[in-house]
Structures are given as structure tokens and as C-alpha cells.
Symmetry: C2
Subunit: 590 residues, 2 copies
């Protein structure tokens, strides 16, 4: 027995007169006098079924008894609709039903299965299989499937082979926390789930597989900030015998192809910006270039004029917000000051100068700076009457970051980000090392396998902390609309250099050997120069659809506590199961 001859998005006027069988879910029903109309839904669309009380009252009664989300099979004849629905591809026709079978009933869903649902986040997660029936979420899933396939087809067409790397690997204390997996056959020992296939893809290059990719799940046991998931998907890539240029061009081409193939969007060539410039102009290593509002330093203009806050600050800088001087009240300015003082931003205070249309200036620092002085600042920004200068001061790194946040907030409030636009960007020349004051050591900004730039390689021999802080890595990030979409680097392929890097990162020789000896060993057997990149696939899906939440692109996401509310995981396991693993639970301390 076949359940259907067509799906619910398929029938058109040309099919009028043919007898068809459809199956799907009841979206809704309407009774109009002697006629009952029922919308039948499946993944492909909605088709209207019609029942006539005059010609077949029994069948019509049966149709009237159908509830929302009932699963039915209907046989009938395709007829032209008198009252066409131009918003629906099947809107020209309807099915005059002759036979109706209820395949399964449905209880009343806990929220409405509509584009805009009344279900809250928790409820939608618990009944995810119902949330997934909603058209916007289904579209996201189908987009994701298509994007993955296009990625694979494109990478295959330029010589990449998809090679699966293992999920049960070894835990390393470096980087984020691993999820571990106790081994039963080797009780007392543990596998770890990969945070990325980094070392394996490098070994594939040592193997001569030349061009590798994989769309692959990765795992990080982190405290989940908003919109992070403990398991996430990467497009992971690596190439042998390449320099940075070739990597960037290859993946710029991939990105352009994906936008064209899935969205029919033509992206222009991606600009490049070095890390230093990104931080100084946008206060971020992932600038959103959909709007300008650049940060400028004011040190030279404001220092040693008697305002102690500026004088003692390492850095003073600001942004010039256009045409808001007359719009923003004192109360608005007070609120904005409070906004930059929130712990998430952490500025000490906000200095502003409002340049009124009448030539006057309203400023928090008029006591210290003349109107002329402030006008000079405005000129520095290329601003004009009506603009507002927002100025922060303090440690350079932190202040730039705060200004970056302020810039984004202004972008959002003033709706400066065109929500239909895409602005990709390569950020290059990241620092190799990041100093951490707390643990008093360097950490790898990207990861310990990143090579320094050719020019800075010699600096690896220095011990001076300031020199090392400025050591540039041959690393790059792909940023689109202010979101980090991908990141990668040219890798170290020389044992000595790798050892040196581990030493800079505070590894003893023994630690380096026990954790990454297999990789350094591999470098002794003819490792080619190589480099690669990994794209955050969940984020890419969201950004390409101008959506903020990656959860809506993941079929079965977890909540902020790492719980799957639908299946109720994680969950306790039997004591015997733990015994087999030679494990015991330490009782909870209350």
C-alpha cells in the first residue's frame, strides 16, 4: 500500500481532473455553510482539501471531527479553486476528497504550530519534535542540509577529500575543558571527545593526503555563555604545500560559492585588515563593517590639558555618533553612561560632547576644555554640527574593547546595520601569544600549532615579554557582519620550532612529549608545510540567514545547563555501569 501519490506542495492547475492521494498533518479546518475546507500540511507545502456536506455528509462529518495535527491520508480529485490563494504555490487548486483515512490522532499540542508560536523557550525545547514542525525551523534545517552539501560538492571539486577523524581521542589539559569518556576495556583510563580534529588533520597532511576537509562535530565542556553549545559543528579543512595567500583565496572562493549557491548572493572580494587595525578602529578582532562609526584615538588632543582622568589614562579615544545631539536628552546621556558602566562593559565613566545645531556644545568636560578644543576633536573625527562625541579613557586594551561594544550598541540603536547586507572580512596577523596576568604565563591565542609569520619567526628566540607579546602569528579569521565565522593558520611543521613554541607556552619537555609526542614524532618523517581553517558551521548558517540564534539551526540543541530537555539528559547511570568502569561517585556536598 502506498500512502501518497504526491506531496502537499506539488499539485498545480495542470493536474486538475486527476485522482491523487495525499498524506500529511491537519493544519486547520474551516466550515463554510455546506463546505468544509481543511489545510493538509507536509514538509513540502500545504494543499487544501474540500468536503461537501450535500454530496457526502458522512465524509464531511468525518472531516469536521479532525483535530489539529491529526495525520490523515486523503484520496480525491484535483479541482480548480474558485477562490484562488496567490500566496501559496498550490493555491490554484484543491482536492475534492472521496476517501479519508485517519492514520494517527494527535493530542492538542502544547503550543501552536505556526510561524509565530505562543510556546516559550523551555516548552519548545521539551517538545522539540513539535517545534521542528514549524515552517521557519524546518526551513532552517533544510538550509543547513543544503549548505553542507554545497560545501562538500565545492570542496570535492577543488580536490579536497573528506576524511573522518576519531571521536575517542586523548585528553589534553591545554585549551578548553574536554569531555572525557571512561574506558571499560582499559578501566582507569579515559578517552576525550575532540575539541577539534586539529592534530589529526595535521597528521593527514604529513600522510600526504594533500587536501582534507570534514564537516564534523566538536565538543567543549565550557560554562555555556548565551548561544554556545557543548557540541557544535565545524567545516574543518587543511591543505599541504600552501602559504597564507592560497588558503585565504581557497576559502574566500568557497564562501562566495556558498552564498551564491544557497542565497543567490554575489559577494565582492573580501577586504583584509590586520588585527592591530581592527582593534584600534573597531575595538574588536571581528569588526562589523556594515556600518562605519570608527574609533579614533584622542591622546594627542586631550592629554596634559589639566583633566586628570585623561591625563592619567594610558589611552583616550572615542566615536562620533552622527546627528543625535538634539535627539538625546540629559536622561538619555545618563542612561548611556550607566550602560557603559555595567559590569559587562566595565567603563569607569563616559565623557561626551554634544554639538548642537546652534553652535553651542553640551559636554561633561566643559570645565576642562574650551569649545574650540572640543571643536578640534570633532574635526579630528570629520564630524559636524548635530553629532555627539562619546569618549572613554583608561588602559588601552580595555578601553578599545569598551569603545568597540559602545560602537556596536550605537549601531544597533540607530539601526546602522543593514539587515540584508553581508560584509565579509579577513582579519590577519593575530598575535601568536596572549599573556595572562593571573597565571603569569603565555597562552596560544589560536592554538599551540600556529606558526609565527616568516618575519617574526626569529623573535621566537627572545625572552623579553613585550617582544613576545608582539610576535605575530600566521593566523587569520573570517568575519562576516561582526561574527567570527572561521579561523585558521599556517601551522608549524618543524619539530624544533614546535618544541620552542611549547616552551614559550610553559610546557616542560616531558609535558610536551607526553601530550603531543606523536605529532612532533610525525614531524621527523617528512612533514610538508601546511595550513588550514575551520568554519563554525552553526554560526555560518545563522549569519547567512541574518539570524542571531544558532539554536534554531540545530535540530536538537541543549539549554544553557547543557541539558537536552526533550530526552532529559544527562541522567544518572546504574552503579554496575560505573563499577565496570572502576568509577565511584563522590557524594555531593551540600
Amino acid at each position: 500500500m502506498s500512502y501518497r501519490t504526491h506531496h502537499c506542495g506539488e499539485l498545480r492547475r495542470k493536474d486538475v481532473g486527476t485522482t491523487v492521494k495525499l498524506a500529511g498533518w491537519i493544519q486547520k479546518g474551516r466550515n463554510l455553510g455546506g463546505l468544509t475546507f481543511v489545510d493538509l500540511r507536509d514538509r513540502y507545502g500545504i494543499t487544501q482539501l474540500v468536503f461537501n456536506m450535500d454530496t457526502n455528509p458522512t465524509l464531511c462529518e468525518k472531516a469536521r471531527a479532525l483535530g489539529r495535527e491529526f495525520v490523515v491520508m486523503a484520496v480525491g480529485k484535483v479541482a480548480e479553486r474558485s477562490n484562488k490563494n496567490p500566496d501559496r504555490p498550490t493555491g490554484d487548486i484543491e482536492i475534492e476528497v472521496e476517501n479519508l483515512t485517519v492514520l494517527n490522532k494527535s493530542a492538542v499540542p502544547p503550543f501552536t504550530i505556526e510561524d509565530e508560536t505562543d510556546g516559550g523557550e523551555e516548552l519548545r525545547m521539551k517538545y522539540r519534535y513539535l517545534d521542528l514542525r514549524r515552517d521557519p525551523i524546518q526551513k532552517n534545517m533544510l538550509f543547513r542540509s543544503k549548505l553542507a552539501l554545497e560545501t562538500r560538492k565545492y570542496l570535492d571539486s577543488v580536490g579536497f577529500a573528506e576524511i573522518e577523524t576519531p571521536f575517542l581521542i586523548k585528553s589534553t589539559p591545554e585549551g578548553a575543558r574536554d569531555f572525557v569518556v571512561p574506558s571499560r576495556m582499559n578501566a582507569g583510563e579515559f578517552y576525550a571527545l575532540p575539541q577539534s580534529p586539529q592534530t589529526f588533520k595535521q597528521l593527514l597532511m604529513v600522510s600526504g593526503l594533500d587536501r582534507y576537509f570534514q564537516i564534523v562535530k566538536c565538543f567543549r565542556d565550557e560554562d555555556l555563555r548565551a548561544d554556545r553549545q557543548p557540541e557544535f559543528t565545524q567545516i574543518d579543512c587543511e591543505m599541504a604545500f600552501v602559504d597564507r595567500e592560497e588558503v585565504l583565496n581557497t576559502f574566500e572562493d568557497l564562501t562566495k560559492h556558498l552564498f551564491k549557491a544557497t542565497l543567490d548572493v554575489d559577494l565582492a572580494d573580501f577586504p583584509r585588515m590586520d588585527y592591530q587595525e581592527a582593534v584600534e578602529k573597531y575595538g574588536s578582532d571581528k569588526p562589523d563593517l556594515r556600518f562605519d562609526l570608527q574609533i579614533k584615538p584622542l591622546n594627542e588632543l586631550v592629554k596634559n590639558k589639566g583633566f586628570v582622568v585623561f591625563d592619567k589614562a594610558e589611552y583616550v579615544g572615542g566615536i562620533c555618533v552622527p546627528a543625535q545631539a538634539e535627539n538625546w536628552s540629559n536622561k538619555d546621556m545618563k542612561k548611556l553612561t550607566e550602560w557603559v558602566q555595567r559590569p559587562q562593559i566595565g567603563a569607569a565613566g563616559l565623557v561626551y560632547s554634544k554639538f548642537q545645531q546652534d553652535g553651542s556644545i553640551k559636554s561633561t568636560v566643559s570645565k576642562f576644555f574650551t569649545d574650540d578644543a572640543q571643536s578640534e576633536w570633532l574635526n579630528h573625527f570629520g564630524g559636524e554640527k548635530g553629532d555627539v562625541l562619546l569618549i572613554l579613557a583608561g588602559k588601552k586594551d580595555k578601553t578599545l574593547k569598551q569603545l568597540g561594544e559602545l560602537r556596536l550598541e550605537m549601531g544597533r540603536r540607530l539601526e546602522l546595520m543593514d539587515s540584508s547586507e553581508f560584509k565579509p572580512l579577513w582579519v590577519v596577523d593575530f598575535p601568536l601569544l596572549e599573556w595572562d596576568d593571573e597565571t603569569e604565563r603565555f597562552y596560544a591565542m589560536h592554538h599551540p600549532f600556529t606558526a609565527p609569520t616568516e618575519e617574526d619567526r626569529e623573535k621566537m628566540n627572545y625572552t623579553d615579554r613585550e617582544v613576545l607579546k608582539n610576535l605575530r602569528a600566521n593566523a587569520y579569521d573570517l568575519v562576516i557582519n561582526g561574527a567570527e565565522i572561521g579561523g585558521g593558520s599556517i601551522r608549524i611543521h618543524d619539530r624544533q620550532l614546535q618544541q620552542q613554541n611549547f616552551k614559550l607556552l610553559g610546557f616542560t619537555d616531558e609535558e610536551a612529549e607526553s601530550q603531543f609526542g606523536f605529532l612532533m614524532g610525525a614531524f621527523e618523517y617528512g612533514a610538508p608545510p601546511h595550513g588550514g581553517i575551520a568554519f563554525g558551521f552553526d554560526r555560518l548558517c545563522a549569519v547567512m540567514n541574518h539570524q542571531n540564534s544558532i539554536r534554531d539551526f540545530i535540530a536538537f540543541p541543549k539549554n544553557n545547563m547543557g541539558r537536552d530537555l526533550m530526552i532529559d539528559a544527562p541522567a544518572p547511570v546504574d552503579k554496575e555501569q560505573l563499577n565496570e568502569l572502576r568509577l565511584k561517585l563522590i557524594p555531593k556536598k551540600d
Copy 2:
């Protein structure tokens, strides 16, 4: 700087005269008088480099100093070879090298990087990155990549969407043992790694996603028999609104497509055989149809003739081996008897009748059966002079299994399996339930979500063990050349029926609810009829290449103890890491 203008498999006679740059590994070198030839290898092929001692002695000396597996970059002119190599696509040309750069040296590899290597299994696993340089293994990896892509392209073309299901799910005691993953954020609780995405793909059908697939890693913590891996890959598929016919046709078409697209092999329509027939004729639910040698029952011919072994046996049956009567000595027969008595086979003994060309019969049971009686057996098999009947007796199930093993052994010894042939087969109508004498309960032969056939559904209400044993499932396996390639079923989509099945499997209502409540809950909200299949992707790769070992199709496999010898995992973890998980190791008892 670019490392190469071409790869090592690319240059042809038409390129003669052009200057090129190549990069790769030194395969080997030969010094012939004034000329030195070096084979340069990469993933794409081998190109010969030539150095002339007369014209450039310095460069030639440099080339002579190169060791195997050194990584080099060579610039030179493409020249036509006087001594062509027709076995190599680049065999018409060589590169007259003008410039040579050593990009990386190599220590002497622990085994030879050749098609046939001198490296043992352990050594090859430890240095897997070198083993992966060997051409047969690289070909396997590239085949796998191609097969995966063709699978995706085909399934996409017939409306399947690839949807990722979670890896951090919930442990269920049913089926094989789970790998568990302790949760830190929910300390004391555990995730499990999926043995398959079974429940999730069913939920996607409830969601109306209609046609799902995924090429996905699955995990089983089993004691590893030969050629099993704790992590393995499935092509996992599910369809809504289908009956068995539609599933079988869809995946028969997929299989045919894959053989055509990757091997250029046209497969004929797949025969179907029910489970009962497979077991009775081939002693196996995965018959190798590349050779005949069918099992036949002999009960009616041999019972109650005074031979107590046959008389007391539930089942007597045999196979007729052609044309070996004169070849097999008494010693051979003794050895064969010992073979069936090995614990892996477990037969009590072997009865045989050799039908000599001169008409005489040599048999172990001549005392009990006349030549005429034995000739009647031979006729029963359609055999002829020169053939040998091999007969086993005992419990029916076990004896058929033993005969199945014996049949396969004869197939191997007499080379009856054509190693270039593919014989696919659908085995259908498996039993729903398997009784286990030890635990005194039924287990699901496929899994607890498998529906009974329409005809047998009513038998679910019985309690009689014999009736339940014969209850047929709407389940099917795809078998190729005696290997199980895929298996699936039409699923239960009705809450009551699912509950009934759990009850037959010995679940209390509470157990069923706590483990699979989310699925039964989903069935209440309009679950459509659905079914699917999963292919063992590693095995499919191996069978399509007529190879026995799945390890050679896995980039980084584990050994029989579940260890990755290259990275040395699993491994101990820090005590602090365990503390965070509220876990303590139980000390080993010696």
C-alpha cells in the same frame, strides 16, 4: 611564495618545454652513470626528476644526498623521456631540475612506504601517518570520500535532507553497552554516546521532515571481535509515509547508484529471500550467493533407520560438495571433522559419504545405511559421482548454523566465491523477538522500535512463547557477498503498540517510560507511519573493494583493545579533572 605549479600526477607530453615547480616526497632515487633519477611522489602520482652530473654537479650531488621521504620542492623544465614508463600516467616525461629545495628532512621510516610494506600491524598502527602514505591505503581513503559524497548527492536528489542528531544523549540499558560521558555542569549525571540515532530519526519523522539521512559516527562499548571498531560510521536513513516496498526500492536504487558511480558496476535487481529460507538453505541470515552449495534437510530420508545419532537429532542436514570424492584423503576427512568440532563451530561430529567414480561409496555410516540409501541422499541433492555429502545432526538452529559455516569454508577452500562478483540480496521477514534461555526473556532481534508485519500484528497479544518466537517483524537486511551491509525496518508509530512491545521485552511500564517516554510521548502528537534503514559505511567500503578489513578504510582505527596506538589513548586523566566530575577511581584489584 607558491610551493608548486602542478602536482605529481599531472604532467604529460603536451607540457614538454614548460618550466614547472613540483613539491612532494622522495619515493626513491637511482644513480645511472652521469644521471641521477629521483621519483617524486604526492597524492596524485609520481613524477621523475632528473639531475645531470656533467651539466650541474653541485645540484646533482644535492639530489644524491636526498633520503627516502624527504620533502622537496623542485623547479625545472618538462622533457620527453627517452625511456618511457607506460605503467605511469606521467611516464612519458621527466623534469630536468634546475633548482631543488629541501623543505623538510625525514628520518628513516620504520617500514617501507610501498604497496606491499614490511611493517607489521602494530607498527603500522603506531605510525599510522606513514601507513597512510602507502598508495593502497590512500586509495581506500579517497574511495571512502567519494562514496560518501555520492551517497549524499544521490539522497539529496531524491528529497532526503541531512540532519545532524546529537552525540551527547542518554544511556539506555537495552542493547549493547553505551560509552558514557560524565557531565560536569550536572555532576553525578552522565550523557551517553549514541549507538545509533534511532530515536532521533524517528522524532524527525514525527516532526514532518519526511526524508532524513545522515552519515554519522556511532559508538558501541563491546568486547571487540576481529574487525569491529568502538566507533564506526553509518549511513542512517528514515522516511515517513512509506511501506516496506518503498524503503527497499529507494535503497536498492541508492546501492545501484553507488556501485555505478564509484565502480562503474551495473547491479541487477536484488533478489529477496525470507529469513526462514535463508537460514534453512544457507545456514545464515546473510547468505553469500556468489556460490550455490545449498543446505538440504535429510530428516525424512535418514530417520528411524537404526542410526541413533540421526534418530535422536532434531535435525539432520547436509551439503553436497562437487567433485572432491577422489581428491580428499582419509586424512583430509579427519581434518575436516576436527574443523567442524572446533569450539567456534561446535559440531559433535561429521558424517560423510564420498561417491567414488567407480560407483563405490566411502562413508562413515556404511554400517547403518546401504549404498542404495546413500545414493538416494545424493539424488536428493541432485549430486553425481565424484561428489561428497557432508552431513551434520543435532538441534535444528545450531546444526543449520554449523552447516552454514561449513558451506562458507567449502566455498573458500574450493574458491567458489568469484572475487570480482557482487551478489546483493534483501533478507526479509526477520523474527521480531529472540528468546534468550539464560536470562529467560525475549530480546528485540532488530531493536524495540521495529513493527511486526501487518499479518502478525495480532499475535502481539499472545503470551505463548512459541507463537511469539514466530512473530515476524517488518524488518529487512541488505546483504552483499555474505556481508550484512544494511538493516532496517518499518517502525511502530503507535503508543499502545510500542508499550505492548516494551512489555514483551520485559520492560516494566516505569522503565519504558523513564527510558523512552519522550518517544512514546511524541507518538501522541500525530506520528506518521515511517521506516528506515542504516548502512554500515565502513563495511560497505570494504565489500565494494573486495577487501576483508574495515580498518584499512578508517583513517585512524583502534586495535582490539580499543586503543589508538598512535596517540596512545585512552590514558589516565588528572585527579582534579575527575574531582570536577565528582568521580573517583576505584583502585584496581590484583
